[in-house]
Amino acid sequence: MRGVVRTFQVGDQTVRALDGVDLDIEAGEYVSIMGPSGSGKSTMLNLIGLLDRPTDGLYALAGQDVTALDDDQRARVRGERIGFIFQAFHLVPRLTAAENVELPLTLAGIAPAERRRRVARALEAVGLTDRAHHVPAQLSGGQRQRVAIARATVTEPAVLLADEPTGNLDRASGHDVVRVLEDLNARGITLIVVTHDAEMGGRARRRIRMVDGRIAEDARA
């Protein structure tokens, strides 16, 4: 990212959620982003995940300038290279765990047989094979977030973006989730985690601190 600015118009006021960010993240890194509420962490994650566009500046993903891609192209890049994990899990309540995990593969147009194989593998990786046919309401918070992780990783993305993934979980399930994420990172996936939890943030090899839409600190272990 070079000189990335993202402003929001709130009434007649312009809020600078990101105010000139320069940032390079290498493939396979484990990055935590911390900082006070409203400092622009989520905005940055959304830009990295191509859910949002910068108002100004340049963003290249895997060497390709993605700032100017159109809606269809951005959707494809999201589907192929990015996995999202949200604080609120965002599982589709009427679909079973397996169907939720299957969703990105379906959207990508992958054949049903291949989908089933990959869904089974992804659920096994998060230890939820026996919960495949449960709907989210029948799962605990930790299990739901693990389903969401399986869904985010089933497409084998290069980057995993997690916005406060443990924010809605108790300590024990939070630990489970962090362990699963770190396992994935150990196998090469780039992991970027926004968190309020100092302990979780401290585990990352690279720790970014944001204040008022700028990077205030960028520390490597």
């Binding site: 859910l51 192929e80 604080q87 965002h90 679909l95 969703l103 959207l107």
Partner: protein
């Protein structure tokens, strides 16, 4: 995403919101069923009336005294009263090569009695040919005998109801009946004919036309029924009839000829138009169902905002989101239409089973139109909600609320 997967996703969404889906299916199917049932009714009415009219006779033309001024223009200044039609007119018409049969008709009403029983009867003065021209069926004896139409003769043919009421179980054949102060011998009894365009043949008594004219003391005819030689002869026969009568009436065109075909066509057109009108009114309920679909889909979009944001995050473009919601609405409309056709056709069959005279088989065009309109309105009205879903900003859609 493949078409099959899109359909499956839409179907899961429909089964995932059962109450909502059931309500919309109900609205859609009521609209479709209304179109199907009402057009079936209209069609049934049309076939009934045109069938009734076709049963009047074959290649039938009717000559009526007086000119019907349907085309406007000034009324005739001289000879304003139309000349009467006479038996001689009828005989002259019979000479046209286009004409197969002629049946003059004089109609009156008077008391008919046999022994001590008496009742009012419609008297039809006519000739032997009437039996063929009007497709009458004789049950016992025979119809009026052939012969010179200008010769009176004291014979009568009774309608079925009259025969029953005057003679009960006794055989009327050969018996004497009185019409006014004249006596007639019963030579035949008609089979039950039923009501036919306002005239109940079962309550009529048929006597020779000359006898009827004497009875009612009139030289004129009520009308002349003409059967053309064949189907192609109807139009030339009409011209012939008018020409012959013009010549006989000193060049004045003072009669009206109506052909069975033209009346049949008019009825057919009117009733068809009526069916379309009724179908159109019923289609309004489909429009209402479309509006309902729009509202429910709008609610669905706001309820499923997070889901929409999620789909975007998982690699769906805004176009894909729009397609998903449109598919959902189209699928819903299709299911509603199928259900509605089932209800409409089933209801029609049920009514037909209870009232065999009423054939409520819906016309194929009505079924096709109802399904088409349901699909189109359902999808059109879903355009707005689907566009709204597609236009959602994924970040805001995913933001916790």
């Amino acid at each position: 995403m493949t078409a099959a997967d899109t359909l499956r996703f839409a179907f899961r969404a429909l089964t995932g919101f059962r109450v909502r889906t059931a309500l919309m299916l109900l609205a859609m199917s009521i609209g479709v069923a209304a179109v199907v049932l009402l057009t079936s009714l209209g069609e049934a009415a049309r076939t009934y009336v045109t069938g009734e009219f076709a049963a009047l006779g074959t290649n039938l033309l009717i000559v009526i005294p007086g000119r019907s001024e349907t085309t406007g223009g000034a009324p005739p200044v001289t000879g304003a009263t139309a000349r009467d039609l006479t038996i001689e007119d009828a005989v002259a018409l019979g000479r046209s090569p286009q004409v197969a049969l002629i049946a003059p008709l004089t109609v009156g009403e008077t008391a008919l009695s046999a022994g001590t029983r008496s009742r009012n009867a419609v008297v039809m003065g006519t000739t032997h040919e009437m039996e063929t021209v009007r497709h009458l069926t004789v049950e016992r004896g025979r119809f009026l005998p052939p012969g010179d139409p200008s010769r009176a003769s004291a014979v009568a043919v009774l309608g079925a109801t009259l025969a029953d009421e005057l003679f009960g179980a006794r055989d009327p054949l050969g018996a004497q009946v009185r019409l006014g102060d004249r006596r007639f011998r019963v030579v035949g009894v008609l089979a039950r004919q039923g009501q036919s365009l306002g005239t109940n043949m079962d309550e009529a008594v048929f006597i020779p036309v000359a006898s009827a004219q004497a009875l009612f003391n009139t030289p004129s005819l009520f009308r002349i029924l003409v059967q053309a030689a064949d189907r192609d002869a109807v139009a030339p026969a009409e011209r012939d009839l008018l020409r012959i009568l013009r010549e006989r009436h000193e060049g004045e065109e003072d009669v009206t000829v109506i052909t069975q075909g033209s009346v049949l066509g008019a009825f057919d057109r009117i009733l068809r138009a009526l069916t379309y009108a009724v179908a159109g009114i019923a289609a309004i309920s489909l429009f209402v169902a479309g509006i309902l679909v729009m509202n429910v889909m709008l609610v669905a979009v706001s309820q499923r905002t997070a889901e929409i944001g999620l789909l975007r995050a998982l690699g769906a473009s805004s176009g894909r989101v729009r397609a998903l919601f449109l598919t959902e609405a189209a699928l819903l409309s299709l299911l509603g239409a199928v259900l509605g056709v089932a209800i409409g056709v089933g209801g029609g069959l049920a009514v037909s089973a209870m009232v065999p005279a009423l054939d409520l088989t819906p016309p194929a065009w009505a079924v096709a139109a109802a399904v088409g309109i349901a699909l189109t309105t359902g999808t059109l009205f879903a355009l707005l909600p689907a566009r709204r879903a597609a236009a959602l900003d994924p970040v805001e859609a995913l933001a916790p609320r």
